[in-house]
Every structure is written in C-alpha cells, then in structure tokens.
Amino acid sequence: MTEQTLGNGIRYTEIRDPKFRSCLLLIRFYTPRDAQTAPVHALLTDLLTASSADYPGLSALSRKLDALYAADFSARLMLCGDAAALSFSASWLDDRFALDGEDITGEMLRLVTGCLLRPHLAHGGFCEPEFSVCRQNLLDDIDCERNDKRLYALQRTASLCFAGEPAAIPPLGERSFAEAVTPKQAYAVWEHLLRTAPIDIVCILPSEKPVRTALEAAFAQIPRSPEPVPLSAPTPLREMPLRCTEHMSINQSKLVLVYQFREIEADVLRMLYGILGGINNSLLFLNVREAKSLCYYCLSSYSILKGVLTIDCGVQNADLQAAEDAVQEQIGLLRRGDFPDSMLREAVLDYIGRTAAQENTNSGTAERIADGLMLGDSRSPDEIAAALAAVTKEQIMHAARMLTPAAVCILRAEEAEEP
C-alpha cells in the first residue's frame, strides 16, 4: 500500500493486488452541509455520473460504459456526522481481459476526470435535459424515502434527535429546497467543492498502471484552496429522552431507541455494539428475537461522529412495550457485565471475519481504507483486531453505563391495517 499526497488537500492511496480482475477507483469529496446544499449534493452524485462534455446527453455515457465491458461510474452521498461526502466510484475490467486489446484503463481515466472536471455545461450551469431529468429523479427519490419503512423510521428519528443540527436534514434534503435548485446554483456548488473540499482517493489495481500520474495531471488544472471539514459533531446531551410516534398504513410497526454517549473509546464502542446487536449471536438476537420471538430483526448501529447508538426492530403493535422493555434489559445486561466472556472473543472474531470478507472485493477494500482515512484511523485490520482483543469486560460495562437514553420513536401500524 502506498499513501501519498497529490498536493492541495488530496490524499492518494494505491494498492496493487493481482487477485482482482478489475480496477477500482474511489474518490471522496468532503463538504459541510446545510438545508440549501443538501439536495444539491444528492443531485450532483446523479448529474456528474450521467454525462460530461465528452459524453453529452442522457445516453452517450452509458453506451460508452457498456462498450468498455460493463465499466461502472457511479456515486453515492454519505452522511458523516454533520458533514457529507460525495463518493464517486469507477470500476473496470483489467486490460488483460479486453477482447480487442482496448486500453480500458486509459479510456476510463479520461472518462472519470472528464465527468468530474469537464461537466456538460451551458451558460454557466449544467445542461438540459440532464439537469431536469436528474432533478426530477431527486424529487421522486425524496417522495419515495417512505417506501423503505425501516430506513424511513431511522431517518425520521434522526431528524428529531438532531433537530437544529445539519444531521437532522434528510439525506437527500428537503423537497422544497430540491425544487428550487437551478442549473447555475448546482454548478456553483460543484465548483466550490472542487476548489475547497478535502479529497481522498483510493485506487486498487491488479498491476501497475499510470493512474496516479493521470489524476495528478487532471487535478493540477484546478486552482485549489482546501478548507478543513470538521466531521466529529456530537449532538448535545438531552436531559429528558424524546418520545414520539407517527402512524402509518403498514403491517408492522417500527421501534427505534437512541442512546447518547460521550468519550467512549472507538474500540470499546465497537465491542459494545457488536455484543449488543452487531454480531450474529448478539444479546438482541438471542434474547429479543430468539428467546422472546418478538421480532424478525433487532439490530444496533452507532455513529461515533454524532455520539449516538441506535437500536431498531420491527414488531406488532401489541408487542411494542415488551420489545422496548426487552431492549432496555439488554442494555442492563451490558451495564452489569451479565453476558458470557465468550461474547468478547466472538466480537473480535466477527470483526476479523467481516474485514477479511470485505477485502475479497476491491470495492470493499477501498471503502475500508477510505473510512479509515475519514476517521483518522490508519491501523491495519490486524492491528485493530489486536486492540479489540485487549478490550475488557469492565471497559464495556463502564461504557454501557455512560449510555443515556435520548429517544424512543415509533412508526406505528394503524390498527385497521393490522392482520
């Protein structure tokens, strides 16, 4: 693995691994977000991967990608605390498998840098019809956020828990702001991002290729003055936990419990999360699902950047209170250290297994490295596993006692719709 800088706030990491048959390039732009820019960020992930000056219109780019053996250029928006990352990913078949000797790598580097640095523009803004189509897609996606009931419940809970903070803004932004975005505004946001965003690039290649040189030359054309983007933004501690309910015409209610914390060390938090709900035989799985048959899924997640741990499950209305009590019982078990020592070992093994599986794909490897860069953790998976193995039960008990209830939110199935 080689880590370098391309200058001007651009970090570049390259790994060569001959077991892969494809190349992978991941480029993340970090940016603060607010109500106005949030939908623009979402829009940019779609717009910049739909066309470019070299491939204008709605179909030229996808035709080119087909002709390059199903090469892919796509993007997603990631929320990182109160900030966001526009994460672009390109992957393509290694040149050695090209049937007609094409230089797929060269073509893809031109395509990717073209999309990011030479978008299809007119009159200082993004061109039509791409802009209108992508904005309509965004509006549709905002309307359809409620389709996935689990994600919708988690998102609505975040909006309430983080009220007044950027993290409360829905991932795709509010509809009213999305409707108001113009081609010029969108391009202005992108231009600003190109100039100021801290950029991380991770490249996984099966063999040596001139990727670094090509990217260095491309980004050198932009006058950059990067501005730091703070990612850690713990939400203020609540004196009283929130309780809220929304009714919906669904078959199964969703229960979300949020706990806050301060100053829990990252490795201890990872172990706590694993034992509570992250590993296959977690306390939530064994005691809430298997022993009490209350739900099909009961999972935990955490954001170290926002200082919250979240537990969510799908239950029948009649079991909502029992499920809430059962989840709280599991937190109690953690606080008392009332769980077998074998779970500590299983949580470490779980981490080792998951990271090993993640590294079976070049995209998984790149995401792991980019996440480490984002969180300032440059340790290898083996080093992290060793640190996790050193976490004691007492540390987990202490950390669990620092969890304070922040919210209980319910997406409640309307009674008439229940089976």
């Binding site: 077991k19 078959n251 298997e290 779980d350």
Partner: protein, 433 residues
Amino acid sequence: MTLTDTRTGDTCRIIRHRSGLEIRVTELPDFRTASAQLVTKFGAQHIRFRLSPDADVTEMPPGIAHYLEHKLFENPECSASELFASLGAHDNAYTDYDRTVYFFQTAREFPEALRVLLDFVTHPFFTAENVERERGIIMQELQEALDDPADVLEMQLFSGMFHTHPVREHVLGTVQSIRQITPALLLTCWQTFYNLSNMALCCAGNITAEQVVQIADAVLPETAPPMRAVPVLLPEPGQVRKRRMQCSMDVGRTQFMIGFKSAPAAGMERLRDSLLCLLVIELIAGDSAPLYLELLDSGLLHDTFATDCLAGDGWFAVTAEGESEDPDAVCAALCKEIRRVKTEGLDAQRFADCKKAAYGDALIGLNSPEAAADAMTDAFVSGHASPFARAELLAELTLSDAQDCLMRRFDPECLTLSVITPEPNLNKNKGDL
C-alpha cells in the same frame, strides 16, 4: 471431473461423494476467506410432490421450505449459529422458489465450520415448542415483506401471470399457511428433499478439494437412499391469468412491474434463453435505448427501468419495473417498441456493446469466494453443469439468436402489468415522528 474457465484459469472440481452428495470446489488461494454453501433442490415452489413416482400427491402449506430453513438451525444443545459464531464464521441461509441454501464464510477454522454446516443440516431437531416459538419470528418476517413495495409488486405480478404455478405464492407463505405448519410436516419435507442425492456442497476460497472431501467423509453417512420423490406441478396455461393487477400501499410514487410470460425451459436452454432475454430487454428498454430516452424525456418514466429475467422449473418471465404516474402508457410504449423491433430488427452495434458488457460482468462477477460459490450452487440447481457456462455461452450468442429470442419470448399479448399506487391522503400529518 474438473471444469476450467479458459479466460481466467479458474477451475471447478466436481466430485460425487459416496453419500450421494455432489461436491464442487473452486480453489482460490489468494483470498483470505472461504465460503461453503450446502444446497438442496427444495424451495418454495415444491408444495406438491409424490413420495415416489407411483405414490399419491402430497400437498404442503405454502412457506414450508422457508419455515424448515429457519428450524434446521436448532440443535438440542444450542443453535448452529452459536457454534459458527464461536468459530468466527458468518452463517446464514435463504429460501428461493427452487432451492434452500445454507452457507457460511470464514477467515479461519474452515474445517470445523464445515463440520457444523454438514452436521446441522443433516440432523433436524423439531419439537412442538421450538416450532411454535419460530412461528412468531416468521410472522414478523412476513409482515415486514408485506410492507415492502418491491416484494408486493413482484408477488402481485406473479399472481397475475400464473394460474397454478406455486410462484404465485410468496416464498414465506401466508399468515394462514404459516399457521398450518407442524413438526410432522417439517419432518416429512426434510426426509423427502434433504436426501443427499438431491443436494450439493459448493465451496470456494483458500481451501482445497481434498480438505472438503475429508470432512464430508468424516461427517456424512457412507451411503444414502436414492432420491425417489418427484415434484408435481399442475398444468399451467400459456396465457397470463390477468393482464393487470393493482393495489394501494403507503408509497411515495406509483410503481409498476411488467412481466412477459413465455414457455418454460430447463438446463442449458434456460440459461441460454435467460442470457438472450437480458440482452434483448437491455437493447429495448436499457438506459441507452431510444425508448428509455423517449419515456424519460416525456416525463412518463422516472429514473430507470430495472430489467430482469426470472425462470425456474415450469415458469419463465422477463420483467421491467420502474416508477411512473401512468404505468399503462409506459406498458403500451414498451409493447409498441417491441413490435417495431420485431419488424425492423435489433441494433447490431448496440447488441455488440451489450454483449461486451455482459462478458465483462460475467468475468468480474466470479472474482470472490462468495461469488464463485454462488455460481456453483446456481449451476447445480439450474441443471447446467458449469459455473463458467455463462461467459462461454455469451461468447457464442449472435444477433440472429437475439432476434429469434425476441420473437419467442416477448409477446405483448402475454404480459401482466402489476401496479402499486400511493394510498390517498398519504402525506397528511399523522403524528410527531
């Protein structure tokens, strides 16, 4: 027997174990993990069968294959998942229409994890109490699925397309059918279909075929009775049952799925026609097709068509799904384009590009232990021996093959349109969350 992918050098060893089990291994020493999948050709569609060729038809409640999948993890002492967790292996299982697959992946202690896998699937432990306890969990899984528009859209589509075929039913069954499942019925299904001659073990990763066989020798019986059970399908008419199906749900936009029904196929013919159908639907409705651009430009279609070809024993369907305020107009436009292309022919340059894309997908798609194990499992269940057959077949397909497939499998008179509309008053304020 050893199969080799001439493009990548990957191999697949196929060994008939003395127990009747088929063992397939792809050795990938450069990867850090290994995956194992134990599959039986028993899935959600096998609800009617004869215990032997001349026996009466036995009927089972829909959803029983999935219920059985859940229950096999139970051991007298602890669950199989606890054993996997203690080894650091990640385990799970899934039930599809034509198969049930139990699997794990691990970076360590593969032999011990493989013992656990072979042991728990071949030693059922059903009690009235543990079967009853599982019912609540499965009911919750079903309720979750019934809130998922993608699941409902597909279930509604198949219900409209097919008259008798069991894919009309959800893989999980119904509230009523789940209530009918008993330990005795589960045991009958296990005894009938978890015959090792009806199963395969597919392993890939940093392991060897010898390791796998050695563990199979230690865990599995020396012989197994021959597979005598025969799945039964009721006669299925060629035409769809209903041309249009619709329901309302709490969704943000109207969603639709179009399904073209055509004659079932088996083995290599099914694989070949599936690949051709995927190419043809991409040419007609993919995101660089003229039709797609026209629909997008006119505002009829939002975002993109997701297209697929789904097939199994006794059924074959090509699907296209998306979001539109006027799904009937989208469906009419798609049919019109199909008729046009049937007359004027498919675009040769785009066919060549789509074929290249499919070739790239096929090569990259097998580049991990999990994907290699998936491909071996699929080849076993689908009746085409080689996991590399997809890339090999793709190389041979011609424009004229695609045109022929278009004529046979895209009949505008034989389609169902499944629609989910948003419930009225969707956005009214119903609470404080």
